[in-house]
């Protein structure tokens, strides 16, 4: 059974329809990369999955938590879905440790002592065990992004969404973040990534989803998609990104 099931998703901003009927299933442990040109709707799609964007039509189901335009229990959905952002969005007034601990304490009402252990484990997992008491502005971009991943992990999500999480990083910091994502993938975390790192997508993901003008134009195993693009749009897109 699929962990994430999107059915007939439509989304418009006024007259501008950005998602034109998306169906997508993601199984437990699957690592899916959403690729496509900017404006193709991939970030919007990702953001609908935890309710940051309201949908006009269709339904979203994640591990039993269901959202459609009529009824929406976003809290139930968000407890199952973690999200990491391009701009990190750490809480600047809290230390790395407090960033990770906040939601489990406030939202899940877990005891501080338990959460402290969870937070230490989460920070250790992203290689920042020694930065528990550092404030975000004392950390590099790559470190901040890894704290953001730890913050999301501490809520024990069933699936994690990563929205261009390396795009705001200096080139030399990209790899430390990708290494963490790779580790999560290896440990069986279900991941949906919007990414421009084609090499990474090819190596780590088991499915590539190519979006074009608000629709899923093609999807399949990375090798297949990269070597035998079925549509001229994908062929052109691959040409564009591999030339760089």
């Amino acid at each position: 059974m699929s962990l994430v099931k999107l059915t007939g998703i439509h989304k418009s901003y006024g007259d501008n329809e950005v998602l034109k009927g998306i169906d997508l299933k993601v199984n437990e442990g699957q690592v899916v990369a959403l690729i496509g040109r900017s404006g193709s709707g991939k970030s919007t799609l990702l953001r609908t999955i935890n309710g940051l964007e309201r949908i006009n039509q269709g339904s979203i189901e994640v591990d039993g938590a269901c959202v459609d335009p009529g009824q929406s229990d976003l809290r139930a959905l968000r407890l199952k879905v973690g999200m990491v952002f391009q701009q990190f969005n750490l809480f600047p007034h809290l230390t790395a440790g407090q960033n990770v601990m906040l939601a489990p304490v406030v939202v899940k009402k877990q005891s501080k002592a338990d959460v402290r252990t969870i937070a230490e484990e989460a920070l250790a997992k992203v290689g920042l065990a020694d930065k528990f008491d550092a404030y975000p502005d004392q950390l590099s971009g790559g470190q901040q992004q890894r704290v953001a991943i730890a913050r999301s992990l501490a809520m024990k999500p069933r699936v994690m969404l990563c929205d261009e999480i390396t795009s705001a990083l200096d080139p030399e910091l990209v790899n430390e973040v990708l290494a963490v994502v790779r580790k999560l993938a290896e440990e069986g975390m279900t991941l949906l990534l919007v990414t421009h790192e084609m090499r990474f997508a090819r190596e780590v993901c088991d499915t590539l989803v190519f979006m074009h003008k608000g629709r899923i134009a093609e999807q399949g195993a990375p090798e297949e998609v990269f070597t035998k693009p079925a549509t001229p749009e994908l062929a052109q897109f691959i040409g564009m990104v591999t030339e760089r």
Binding site: N50, G51, L52, R75, R78, L79, V81, G82, M83, F85, Q87, N89, L90, F91, P92, H93, L102, A103, V106, V107, A148, R151, S152, M155
Partner: protein, 216 residues
């Protein structure tokens, strides 16, 4: 006819100025609490509540304080509630202060980047949890200088309550003038006393602005 020395005048003005201070502090505290509630409504996810609070703010910002005081002072008896100049003054200034503070603070809340809302939302926090743990702590440091600055407006606003007979600095000035026939001296001293109350606050607000900006 008794003679008044300048010292007599000043002494009585200072006694009355205590009421200006008490009224200002009360209006500022009550207005701050009410303003926080108005602010929460003004930025809440509920559209009808946002609109209502916006109307509240616009009403108090769009009418003279003098008129607000009159309405409160005369509306209570109409509703069958006995009121004193003191109660009416506190209520009117509280409403006035809450509307302005809510609007000042809304600006501070909106200066917190949208990503902070999105990140806390993604962690399944409710609106109140977001405000309490993520947004307000960050808005607070931006809010302190303009809030201190606004306290000057509250102090000056208390002068208007003299019109309904509340004896604070301005009203005392009028009464003393009527007894001494020295309006220039008396009102000059009244002005100096207001300045002595307000100037340190505005200097403090400016200093806060500088230090909090540097700290960021």
């Amino acid at each position: 006819m008794p003679e008044f020395t300048t010292w007599d005048i000043l002494y009585n003005l200072i006694l009355a100025a205590r009421w200006t201070v008490v009224l200002s502090i009360l209006a500022f505290i009550c207005g701050g609490i009410a303003g926080l509630l108005v602010l929460l409504g003004r930025v809440s996810p509920l559209p009808w509540l946002r609109r209502t609070m916006n109307l509240y703010i616009e009403l108090f910002q769009g009418t003279p304080l003098l008129m607000q005081i009159f309405i409160v002072f005369f509306a209570f008896p109409l509703m069958g509630v006995e009121t004193t100049a003191w109660t009416a003054a506190v209520v009117a200034l509280t409403l006035f202060t809450s509307a302005y503070l809510a609007e000042i603070w809304r600006g501070c809340v909106e200066s917190v980047p949208k990503g902070q809302w999105e990140a806390s939302e993604s962690l399944a926090m409710s609106f109140t949890e977001q405000m309490r743990y993520v947004i307000l702590p960050q808005a607070l440091r931006v809010a302190v200088p303009p809030t201190v600055g606004f306290s000057v407006q509250v102090i000056k606003g208390t002068a208007v309550t003299s019109i309904i007979g509340f004896v604070e600095l301005t009203k005392a000035g009028t009464m003393i003038t009527n007894a001494t026939f020295q309006p220039f001296l008396v009102y000059g001293l009244v002005g100096l006393l207001y300045f002595a109350l307000c100037y340190p606050l505005s200097v403090y607000a400016k200093r806060l602005e500088r230090t909090l900006h540097v700290a960021r």
